[in-house]
């Protein structure tokens, strides 16, 4: 089976674009990725499109209506917050299978403001605030509180995640925000769901990211200078655990995925230079240091206290600013984080460059649940 390479990749600056349509945002990112690869839509053999909000509305085809209706096959996919990673992985798989040599993957989302989640069943009466909370800040607060009960992790330690990621985003012009948020600011922000304050919740933004994936044969034709090798692509669903159906278990689904990813890549956590992981809430990031094997179980609090996960630390996490400050356009997130890691592996990340980056990892969670992990390798 051919190795698969990212030949072109880009994202639009995340923000709020109420005057644009979802296909327009996706088309912008698609053209940027094609330009980055030095290719055109006429060169593409298939399009894999990830979008959640208009999952039944043929977003991929409507992107082609904006940039070139070449008649290629289009797959539209939705997989909660793992949507973009799923589209990328489907593109990867078509090359692995030998069906295609050069394909386009796009992730795009337009978001409203406000809380996600909850709702509950349509029948009877509303259950929110009656049978606990189904809002995302509360669900991920509860997941974080499991870490607190096991290891004594504090509100302050969770808040430090947000300080770090907001700091990183000041170095990323494509992030929604470039604003420093000191610890007191994070901890004194409006409490949404203890222990997540407003600044510890990801930002709802509009966004799009796209990638051109090619086979080894095609990569050699085009030149390897800026190519990034996809060393592992893994997708899992939540394995049974006792509380999973009441309290979504984001840990088991991630641990299963990362074990398979390290095996596929033939490397271990010590080989990874940087990680973009699913910090949908500050509480979630802490869990994933351990889930991804970046430290031993129970050491995540120490990792954030000692700055090991900050730019310049042992294993920088979310140097893009993460979902907390770069923003989290659900369907775009999984390709935007591949853009971030690829940019470092290409040595093009400017002020936030992780020096000497050779392998990088991306991780997303779609609650319900899906986990998508990619390991990428510098080629040239």
């Amino acid at each position: 089976m051919s190795d698969v390479y990212v030949m072109g990749i880009d994202m639009i600056k995340f923000g709020r674009f109420p005057d644009k349509t979802v296909p327009q945002l996706g088309a912008t990112a698609a053209l940027m990725a094609l330009d980055d690869a030095g290719l055109t839509i006429q060169d593409m053999q298939a399009l894999y499109c990830g979008n959640l909000g208009q999952a039944s509305a043929m977003v991929g085809q409507r992107i082609l209506q904006e940039i070139g209706q070449t008649g290629i096959g289009v797959v539209n996919c939705a997989n909660a917050c793992a949507t973009g990673a799923t589209a990328f992985r489907e593109a990867w798989m078509s090359i692995k299978a030998g069906v295609n040599d050069v394909v386009l993957a796009v992730g795009v989302e337009q978001m409203g403001k406000g809380l996600l989640g909850g709702g509950g069943g349509a029948a009877g009466i509303p259950k929110e605030g009656l049978l606990g909370s189904g809002t995302m800040p509360a669900v991920f607060a509860e997941a974080g509180m499991e870490h607190s009960r096991n290891y004594g992790t504090t509100f302050e330690q969770f808040a430090k995640v947000s300080v770090k990621n907001h700091h990183h985003s000041t170095l990323n012009p494509k992030a929604m925000y470039q604003i420093e948020t000191p610890l007191e600011t994070v901890m004194n922000a409006e409490m949404i769901s203890y222990p997540n304050t407003k600044l510890m919740c990801s930002v709802n933004v509009d966004g799009a990211a796209a990638a051109v994936l090619v086979s080894e044969k095609k990569a050699k034709e085009l030149g390897m200078a800026r190519a990034v090798r996809v060393k592992a692509s893994i997708l899992t669903s939540d394995p049974y655990s006792d509380r999973d159906l009441v309290m979504p278990d984001v840990n088991a689904v991630t641990r299963r995925a990362v074990k398979e990813a390290y095996e596929m890549a033939g490397i271990g956590p010590d080989d990874i230079s940087l990680v973009e992981l699913h910090d949908c809430f500050a509480t979630a990031e802490i869990l994933h240091y351990e889930n991804l094997g970046l430290c031993k179980d129970g050491e995540a609090g120490r990792m954030i206290d000692e700055g090991e996960v900050a730019l310049g630390g042992r294993i920088p996490v979310n140097v893009s600013g993460g979902l907390l400050s770069k923003g989290h356009p659900l369907g775009a997130t999984g390709i935007a984080n591949i853009y971030e890691v690829s940019t470092h592996l290409r040595g093009e990340a400017d002020k936030r460059q992780v020096e000497g980056a050779r392998f990088g990892m991306t991780h997303v969670i779609g609650l319900g649940s899906a986990c998508g992990i990619h390991i990428l390798e510098k080629v040239a």
Binding site: L115, G118, G124, I125, P126, K127, E128, G129, L130, L131, G132, S133, T135, P137, A138, A141, E142, M145, E146, S148, R149, F155, E190, M191, I192, S193, Y194, P195, N196, Y240, D242, R243, L245, V246, M247
Partner: protein
């Protein structure tokens, strides 16, 4: 239908709350031979895959607080703050609900604190037909 429902008294907030109109309400689980306990009727076990092996089982009215969050912002019209709690029931089964009669302050809430499952009107919420509902809540053990 709604007329009939009114005659039968309050409705259960979830189908797995049994005995809503009686003085002995309880939560019901579906237990598989492998030990897994689910809330709500289902045909198959998602732990071991067994088909048609699930049996109704009365869940305990006592349990321990596993984790919680204090919700300060919710959807419009939902009164805050409240404590969203995950409780492991004695003898098996995990349930999510509101923890009541405790101050919404992390200093007042302990992991593993014993709680009772209690039943009461669903905060005055009624459906479009005007039916009342009975819900379950958690409160510190008596």
């Amino acid at each position: 239908m709604s007329e009939q429902a009114k005659d039968e008294g309050p409705l259960p907030v979830v189908p797995w709350l049994k005995g809503a109109g009686t003085n002995d309400p309880y939560l019901e689980g579906q237990k598989c031979g492998c030990g897994a306990i689910f809330l709500g009727e289902r045909n198959n076990c998602s732990s071991c895959g067994a088909r048609d092996q699930l049996k109704p089982t009365r869940l305990s009215n006592k349990g321990k607080l596993y984790v919680y969050s204090i919700v300060h912002r919710s959807f419009p019209g939902i009164e805050v703050p409240y404590i969203s709690a995950i409780v492991d029931l004695d003898g098996g089964g995990t349930v999510k609900g509101n923890l009541i009669n405790v101050e919404p302050d992390p200093a007042k809430i302990q992991f593993d604190m014993p709680v009772d499952v209690v039943f009461d009107d669903a905060l005055g919420r009624k459906d479009k037909d005007g039916n009342s509902y009975i819900s379950y809540f958690f409160q510190p053990a008596a």
